[in-house]
């Protein structure tokens, strides 16, 4: 790679260099520039989206799934185009780490997740469609026993506004081009590399380049992608959820507030699984919406909090290229300070203690290895209504609250993942009926456990396709 990397726009496959560029803070000798798409440029590309659909429709979906499987290997192992040059896997790891402050270990872990999603794309799609054959996307028809079913696409394209802090979320849009829906991507400011690498791998494997738009752009450009594509996916905070609440065509992946609920039958058994709780809080640097941010116990709060805090506190910042690095630095150091201040402010509200402070060496906010870190933090809350009891931050942070099992479901609020540690059949049925839970794990599992055949935050297939009643003589299309 040269010292200066220019990341151009891909206008439905065609490279375009904008006169508006953004220099990213890579903190290295080399410079990285993204080329910014103006919103009108994106809308004009959408006027020609029919060509993208035609290009995808010319290839059987089964073939596209095969391309995706091949692309998984290219993504993981090969040199792929970036601007005028190419980028190998190690270049990608180093460049992404420099921009996002993710340690190399976590970039590689995220690469592994993306690779798994690509290589298991048939399993993923099977999970979404309940194993309808892929020919459905070639013919629009499929048979369920004696019954013919007809699905039609409800959008010409899927727009996705991606975050910077979690490369693996790119796996969520991956099925779309195999389902013959073109995708328009707005990369997160600090992570232009991951979606671009995936797109280049898919094109190199055989996908028509017209199927992909890649638009580094402004907030207005992001809104354009989400609102002008018939379907959009956005990632963000509660504010993002609120912003797009009036747009049913936009699915927002907001704050996770994922939780572990200990049933009364597990109140004395958690010690065997303490490591699971620690990993559930700290995996991926605690940056994912599926990391545990709250643990609810029916009793024994102090003992559990002390034991988990003791293990979390030993996780120390390490250099980004260290083989055991787990914590992420903050690319925006002001955020780290603001988060730290907010936690300290809330700790002044009676009934909460930062239990990790007993064991960590030094302050929560720390400058080390040329970066700003927040050390893992576990807060024990006497009251589940405490402001720190049901919140989420971009580092390993969790609360422990004590609450009777029968009240837990009334108090959890909207929660992305619940891991309910219980074998109580009545409570399991109540958990399965709860409208507040998006993903449910039963048993002593971490919240960040992902099974590819299970949909994540809504079913992408049902988001992109709708079933229509069809009957009569279908011989001509069978």
């Amino acid at each position: 790679m040269s010292d200066e990397i220019h990341i151009p726009i891909l206008r439905l496959g065609e490279e375009y260099r904008s006169l508006d560029t953004v220099e990213l803070e890579a903190g290295t000798d080399g410079k990285i520039f993204t080329h910014t798409a103006n919103p009108g440029l994106i809308r004009r590309d959408l006027l020609g989206i029919e060509k993208s659909q035609t290009a995808l429709n010319a290839i059987p979906s089964d073939t596209l799934a095969g391309y995706c499987e091949q692309a998984a290997e290219l993504f993981l192992n090969e040199e792929l185009p970036v601007g005028d040059g190419t980028q190998g896997p190690q270049d990608y790891v180093e460049a992404l780490s420099a921009l996002t402050k993710l340690p190399h270990t976590l970039v590689r872990m995220n690469m592994g997740k993306i690779h798994a999603a690509m290589s298991q794309i048939r399993t993923v799609i099977g999970g979404l469609t309940r194993n309808l054959p892929l020919e459905l996307f070639d013919r629009g028809l499929s048979s369920l026993g004696e019954l013919e079913v007809n699905y039609y696409p409800v959008t010409e394209a899927l727009g996705v506004s991606l975050p910077s802090n979690a490369p693996a979320v790119n796996s969520l849009w991956l099925p779309a081009p195999v389902l013959k829906i073109p995708v328009l991507l707005k990369p997160g400011r600090e992570d232009p590399f991951t979606p671009l690498r995936i797109v280049q791998a898919l094109i190199a494997a055989g996908f028509p380049k017209e199927a992909f738009g890649f638009y580094p752009t402004t907030h207005e450009g992001g809104d354009t992608i989400l609102m002008c594509c018939g379907r959009g996916i956005a990632f963000g905070s509660d504010a993002t959820v609120q912003k797009y609440a009036g747009f049913p065509s936009i699915q927002v992946h907001g704050t996770g507030r994922s939780k572990v609920l200990l049933g009364a039958d597990y109140a004395d058994k958690w010690e065997d699984h303490a490591r699971t709780l620690v990993e559930s809080i700290s995996a991926n640097g605690g940056r994912s919406c599926i990391n545990t941010s709250a643990i609810l116990v029916p009793s024994g709060r102090e003992e559990l909090a002390d034991a988990i805090a003791r293990q979390l506190a030993v996780i120390e910042p390490l250099p980004r290229d260290h083989e055991e690095a787990l914590l992420c630095g903050f690319s925006n150091t002001e955020w780290a300070g603001s988060i730290n201040d907010l936690i300290d402010q809330h700790l002044k509200v009676e009934g909460a203690e930062d239990v990790t402070a007993r064991y960590r060496s030094g302050s929560r906010l720390v400058e080390m290895h040329g970066q700003t870190y927040l050390r893992p933090t576990l807060v024990s809350c006497a009251d589940s209504g405490h402001p720190l009891a049901n919140t989420e931050f971009m580092f390993p942070f969790a609360s422990v609250s004590e609450i009777p099992q029968e009240r837990m479901l009334d108090e959890i609020g909207e929660t992305l993942v619940v891991s309910a540690w219980t074998e109580d059949p009545d409570w399991i049925r109540q958990l399965m009926n709860s409208p507040d839970i998006e993903r449910l794990n039963i048993g002593p599992f971490p919240t960040n456990r992902v099974q590819w055949e299970q949909p994540h935050e809504g079913n992408l297939f049902e988001f992109l396709y709708r079933r229509r009643a069809i009957q009569g003589n279908l011989a001509a299309v069978s």
Partner: protein, 356 residues
């Protein structure tokens, strides 16, 4: 508007205009009640002590709240007393609007603008369509005058920016989009059913219009646009894609207080815009935001300061809500230009602009 003077001659003409303006606006026989009353509190005698443009620094920056609070009639120069006048309001604000009055200034400005462009740039005799804020704005009469001066008629589609701003502040994004579609629908109808060759609109509406139809195929020959930031990339996009590289494009910078500043000719492949005020009637300076008496160096960003000096209206040293790069005089315009205009401090804080 372009002139044959050199830089020194243009500066001398400006100084002469300053002396004339002081005498006009601060003499009881010709001046308006507002400025005659204001003179008492200035601490200097404008007629005696403001003899060149550099002396304008003696005036403090003009507070545009005055244009909300004062009765516009207090700005009628004695010399215009009894003559019917127009009241114009500024663009997209809510609440009590800022108002200025005028008689012939808009005709002067737009006649000069027309004379700047060759007969085929906006074809002589061609009809115009204005799509944008009409209502109480000077622009509406100005565009019609421009069309008439070039031998054509002008059609209008109104867009109320105050309503758009309210929709957006209320979070009614879907309704805002629907309103824009309503505006574009009307424009498309007029273009399809009347012989329109020239357009005035905002860049964003221009984009939307071109998403609905090829403006080249619709017979449009020239487009005059202003009202929002146009980065070099944006200008390139408009010219290459929206106008398909085949329609003349005249980007301008202007407002109700100034009139309009024309952008100088550009070389092929050059997309950075530099605007030149209609000097000596109006002067644009690029000043240090922390010390508005100081010009920034050429090539540097600073805040835009406007001084308007016509017989109808006088505004000294008004700080615009824009910043721009100070650019050198050029052959067409032998005075300072303002380049790549953008909202003031848009580099350091988020600014909502260009709602229409």
């Amino acid at each position: 508007m372009s002139c044959d003077l050199n830089v020194e001659e243009a500066r001398a003409a400006l100084d002469e205009r300053v002396r004339e303006s002081m005498k006009w606006h601060f003499s009881p026989e010709t001046g308006c009640p507002y400025w005659l009353d204001r003179a008492a509190g200035l601490g200097f005698d404008p007629i005696a002590e403001v003899a060149c443009f550099a002396d304008m620094q003696k005036f403090p920056n003009f507070d545009d709240e005055v244009l909300r609070k004062e009765d516009p009639a207090r700005f009628i120069p004695k010399a215009y007393e009894g003559q019917p006048y127009n009241v114009f309001e500024t663009g997209g604000t809510t609440g009590m609007p800022k108002q200025r009055i005028g008689w012939e200034d808009y005709k002067t400005d737009y006649s000069e603008f027309s004379d700047h462009y060759a007969a085929d740039f906006f074809p002589q005799g061609g009809n115009w369509l204005m799509v944008g804020p009409t209502g109480p704005r000077r622009l509406r009469l100005s565009i019609e005058h421009l069309a008439n001066r070039r031998g054509g008629a002008c059609y209008f589609i109104d867009l109320d920016p105050r309503w758009v701003k309210r929709l957006i502040s209320d979070g009614e994004y879907a309704m805002a989009r629907k309103y824009q579609e309503h505006v574009i629908d009307q424009a498309v109808t007029i273009i399809r059913h009347r012989n329109i060759q020239c357009l005035f609109t905002t860049p964003k509406l221009l984009e939307s219009l071109a998403e609905r139809m090829s403006l080249v195929n619709a017979g449009i020959k020239g487009v005059f646009a202003g009202g929002t930031t146009m980065t070099p990339q944006y200008v390139r996009f408009i010219e290459e894609e929206v106008l398909e590289g085949r329609i003349n494009y005249a980007p301008t910078y202007g407002n109700t207080l100034m009139g309009l500043a024309i952008s100088r000719k550009r070389e092929p492949g050059e997309y950075s815009l530099t605007y030149y005020a209609p000097q000596p009637r109006a002067v644009l300076r690029i000043v240090d935001p922390d010390d508005a008496t100081r010009d920034v160096e050429y090539g540097e960003y600073g805040r835009v300061e406007l001084t308007t000096m016509t017989k109808e209206f006088f505004v000294p040293r008004f700080l615009e809500r824009d910043e721009a790069i100070r650019r050198e005089p050029c052959g067409e315009f032998p005075w300072d230009g303002v380049g790549d205009v953008r909202p003031f401090q848009s580099g350091t804080k988020q600014v909502i602009e260009g709602v229409y």
